[in-house]
Subunit: 130 residues, 2 copies
DNA sequence: CTACGACCTGGAGCGCGCTCCAGGTCAACA
DNA sequence: TGTTGACCTGGAGCGCGCTCCAGGTCGTAG
């Protein structure tokens, strides 16, 4: 089963332009072409794309994703280095989650304060940095 | 107590350039100046700055932080709208955390797979999209 | 046969959030 | 008195990750 670029875009949630862009910067191996020279993405292409978007979602910079893609192209011998990249990324995601969680606490605190203000219990003091 | 721009930068974790930039784009009210015309940040300025950096950490775009800053400048009457912004941001942070958590699961899965590969239990199948 | 729409290429442009630079002022210190 | 160093201003530049554009080629539908 092969997918047109429009279909691949729809399925991956990326834009057509982004798909071509990813190919240009070597994140994506050039997909097959149909008889008219149009891109024909395979299931494997889509699976890889899906993984890439996961990495992007975690905030991995494209430069690093390229590094990973390059290693992947070189085969099984690079598995250790690829794993190391993922382990590092896992660390950074966990850290980021913790950071966001702490911001969430600040937001909750502020929101609670606003609610107190609006219910007439004019606290006042917090308003300075509100 | 007043702080030089260098000191304010150190305490906020932002660069000196970023502090001036934030002032320029009206995120920050112009701080007091000393006799020589140099910026002199107050405790209040620093507290606001600290809150701003929290918002930035949550990924709030500067455009939206400006909106918040503008409302804040207009005083108590805008409290409801400020609260609404924070509530929306809380929602978006919670969503982001969930998203990251799900990516974390994918990373864990992949990493486990790599570890299996390296321990000789050649699974093979996963290598296609690894 | 033509006209449409999806696709192609190479390259320019954009929005964001800073970051850096040139050229200048000022106060303190040797 | 002269030099240093922190600070000032307005404005240009940058890295990132796309996004858009012009101009062209196909293949199907009317």
């Amino acid at each position: 089963m092969a997918y047109s670029i429009a279909e691949a875009a729809r399925r991956s949630g990326l834009s057509i332009d982004t798909l071509r862009y990813y190919e240009r910067i070597k994140l994506l191996d050039p997909p097959a072409r149909d008889s008219a020279g149009r891109r024909a993405y395979s299931e494997t292409d889509l699976a890889w794309l899906q993984f890439l978007t996961k990495l992007r979602t975690t905030g991995m910079p494209i430069r690093r994703m390229r590094e990973y893609a390059t290693l992947r192209r070189r085969g099984a011998a690079t598995a250790g280095r690829r794993r190391a990249i993922l382990v590092e990324q896992r660390r950074s995601v966990a850290e980021r989650i913790a950071e966001l969680q702490s911001c969430l606490d600040v937001l909750d605190y502020k929101i609670t304060n606003y609610e107190r203000l609006e219910h007439g219990h004019a606290a006042g003091i917090q308003e300075a940095s509100a």
